[in-house]
Structure formats: C-alpha cells, structure tokens
Amino acid sequence: MEPSPHTATSNPPVSAATSNLTERDLVRRSASTVPPPARQLEPVAKLIDVSKCIGCKACQSACVEWNDTNPAVETNTGIYENPHDLTPDMFTLMRFTEWDNPQTGNLEWLIRKDGCMHCEDPGCLKACPAPGAIVQYSNGIVDFIHENCIGCGYCIKGCPFNIPRISKVDHTAYKCTLCSDRVAVGQGPACAKACPTHAISFGTKEDMKKLASSRIEDLKSRGYENAGLYDPPGVGGTHVMYVLHHNDQPEIYSGLPKDPKVSPVVNAWKGMTKYIGFAAMGLAAAAGVLHSALTGPNRVTREDEEKAEDLVKEKA
C-alpha cells in the first residue's frame, strides 16, 4: 500500500498503484457504524485562493474530463456561470459576482469556485438514510457511494452549502469527490492540477493552512485588511477552504454562508424525532397490550342480542 497521500504538485509514479482509501479508512458511514479505523490518514485539504483566480474555468473542464461527465450545453443569459448551477454532471462551478466595494468605490469581480466543502461534520451524511451511501475517510474526504444511494434527496436537506444534486438518469446523488480516486493513489484533484495560476492547491490540511496564512499576510499588505481563511468551525472545519480577500463578509461571494452549520431543523429531524417516534409508537402498542391484559375483550353478550331482538320486534 502507498503511503498516506500528501500533495498534488509533483507528478505521481506511472506504475500501477493500489488504492490508499479503503473500507478500513472510514470514520463515518451513513446510517451505519464503522469500527475505529486501524490507522489515521493525514487530513488533506484543497485550498482555493479566490484572489488568484482568473475565472478561466480550467478547473471545471478538468473536473468534467476526469469524472467523464457530460454537462448539458445551456443558453447564455448574460452572465458567466455555465452551467447556471451545479448539476449531477457538474460537480464544481465558477460563480461570478460584480461587487461594488462601498469603502473604495471600486467594482470588484469576485469569482468563487463552488462545490462540496468536504465538511468535517457533514450534514449530508447525517441526513442520509441509506447504509453506506455516504462515507467519510479519515483524511477528511466525504464521498457518495452510488451503488448504495437510493436517490431520496435527504443529503440535499442536510447540506448547509446546497451542493448535492440527484441525477434524473440513475437517481443517485452526485457531488465533488475531492477526486478521492486520484487521492487514493497519491495524486491531487484534477482541478488543482489544471489551475494555471495555482489558485487551487492541494495537500495536508496543515500545509494548506500555512500556505493560506502566507497568502493572507500578502493580501493584508496590499490593503485587504479583512483577508482571511474560510474554514468554518460550525461544520467542524472543512477540507475545502477558501482564502477570501473579504473574509468578514463571505456572503458577497455568491452567497457563501457566513456561519454554516447543519440546520437545527435537520438535527431535530435526525435526533429527537427518532426517539419521540419510537417512544410514541411503542407506547401506543404497549397501551393496547396492557389494556387487553387488564380488561380482556369487550364481548357482545346474549343479553345484548336479546335486547336488540326485542327492540326490533317492538318497532317492526
């Protein structure tokens, strides 16, 4: 087995390699439990530096290429997003915003590469009712396992970032895999590899945080005093992180949530409701058993029949 994967920048060996991400590396498996993993993989992360992005969509093309998807050609509605939203065939999407900076009066062109954030505490996995349809590896990658997916769309309700999409073709959910199949053999994600400006980097989460802080320092020295790292603690941090020049207002980047967390409604649905539900149904059944034990059946007596016969005779 190969050593724990680290980075994308160097070219991997061309010889055949065995997968580094196995069943034994799962830390979470939807609607089921997993034994504690035998080893802890080094947590990985993708760092997207929006200040370096030129909006060329090489990452989108690489994603389509690697995952062999075929997003529909859509019509131009006067904006740059194409397709207009994430789809079951487009796992990552450049989102463009023209923002008037009220402080400087400058028009800023904000470009954000949208896609799965690979949450440390993934709402999609929490919501999923199908055993093993969503898994999380000890390196932080959250992956959808299509043969176990039933297409219910619960992951869509669980996700705080509006990411998963259900295919109308095979009725299963799709999203960015963080190129788990590439990472498993020591390669980095296709998008990171394709990015011409190195706006997308991939490596250990620790390295990516270090890289981010040097970028943030640079941005601050250029007057972006609110530059910062987007690694939202509400979902336990993410394995896809952004360097934002305006980290104080992530919403301006096409609605990136400021403090994402798994919705309390989802927590109530997946938590309390189950206990209340089983308790209520159990009590109803137990009440029946108890009642029948205490009172016995309620039988019609011979006397009742006679009373009815008398009544009918009298009225007839």
Partner: protein, 231 residues
C-alpha cells in the same frame, strides 16, 4: 331524537340474531384500499425513518424501489381516503352528547358501556380517529409533495424541504399511533371486524356499542331482507 347519523346503506334485518347492515361493498373496498396503502406507506416510510428499519426496503425490492414507490402509494392513499371522507364525514360531526360520553373516559376504558350515554353511528373516540386521520393525511400529502424531489424539486426551497421532512416524519408517527389505536379498538370490541369484511354487525353489537344508531334505524323503520315486516 337528536340529529341523525344514519347512512344510506344502513338497514336492520330482523331475525335471530338481528343483523344490521353497516358498510356496503363500495365502502368496504374503499376502506381496504386505504388500509393496505397506509400499511405499505408506514413500512416503506419507516425504512427511511431509522437505519434499524432500513431492511424494510427489501419488501419493495430495494432502497431505490421503496423510495420511488412510497410517494405514489401516498397519492393513492390520499385519493382513497378522500373517498372515505366523503362517505363518512357527516356521521363523524361532533354532537352535544359526545362531551358527556367523553366525561366517562374511565368507563370507556373499563368497558362499562352501560354507564355511557348511548352512542350514534360513531362514538367520540371513533370521531377523533376520523378527524385526526383526515388532518394527518392532508399534512402528509402536503409535506410529502414538498420532499418529492423527483418531480417537485423546484417547488420548494431547501429550508422549506427541511421543515417539510421533519413535519412529515412527525405526522407519520402520529398517524401510525392512531392507526395502532384504531386496529386495537377493532380487535378489542369483538364483532367489529365483520362490519368491514361482511359489511354487517349483529343487533347485539349495535345495541351494546351504538345503541342510538340502532334505535334510530328501528324508529325510522329501516328494515330489510326476507324477514322484514311490512312497513
């Protein structure tokens, strides 16, 4: 006598024992379609409700199949129950005497029916069941459509879907509880099940459980059958 709770199909066949028609064939078919779809919905729905019950999807051919069938069975249930609603809503309207009947809750549970005011075609617990089921099924179809992403994804926002799926599971639990009580009551009060199988009950059953209904029928000379006396 108070407002009538007699249905068109109700009639007394004099004899020994007296037999009383309670549900015609249409009503019974309608009831059993509703019952079967409700059970299938509970089984397929509970499979998504909790991982420990996911194996129930096997009854439907797998997870994908259970996911696809469940909402369609829901549509069937909705229309089927609507049929029952149209048939029985009138007889389930609350009456003044229901209050007093309910005040004797202890006697109801203990089965001391002689201490209760005489019930019409439905007693207050049956009426409660009827209205609760009606409301819950409306809640289930509305929330069910909101989470039926295959066809109605665009109709609702994600925050709305979250609330819908929570309410759907709560309404389903409530409906299953009411269903358990309903089935138990039918078994407990012996001689009730034949009302939905053969369509009739004995005079003694009617006298014991729905005396006012029986009296109204007799009062109005709703007699039928070979032994029916001339009216």
């Amino acid at each position: 006598m108070a407002t009538t709770s007699i249905e068109k199909e109700d009639a007394i066949h004099p004899g020994k024992p007296v037999v009383v028609d309670r549900y015609n064939l249409g009503a019974r078919v309608n009831h059993w379609i509703t019952a079967i779809s409700l059970i299938l919905l509970a089984l397929s729905g509970l499979a998504f409700f909790h991982p420990s019950l996911f194996f129930l999807t096997g009854l439907f051919g797998g997870g994908q199949e259970a996911r696809a069938f469940h909402p369609w069975i829901g549509v069937l249930l909705f229309f089927s129950f609507a049929g029952l609603f149209i048939r029985f809503w009138r007889a389930n309207l609350p009456e003044r005497s229901d209050r007093e009947w309910l005040a004797h809750a202890n006697d109801v549970i203990a089965g001391n029916e002689e201490k209760l005011p005489e019930a019409g075609r439905y007693n207050p617990i049956q009426k409660f069941n009827f209205w609760a089921m009606s409301l819950l099924i409306i809640a289930l179809i509305v929330t069910g459509l909101a989470i039926w992403d295959q066809y109605f994804y665009e109709w609702t926002t994600i925050p709305q879907k979250r609330v819908a799926v929570l309410l759907h599971s709560l309404a389903a639990v409530a409906l299953i509880c009411i269903w358990i009580v309903h089935v138990y009551a039918v078994i407990w009060a012996r001689g009730t099940l034949r009302a939905m199988t053969r369509g009739s009950v004995t005079g003694g059953w009617a006298w014991r459980h729905h005396r006012r209904w029986l009296k109204e029928l007799a009062e109005r000379h709703r007699f039928k059958g070979p032994a029916a006396p001339a009216e």
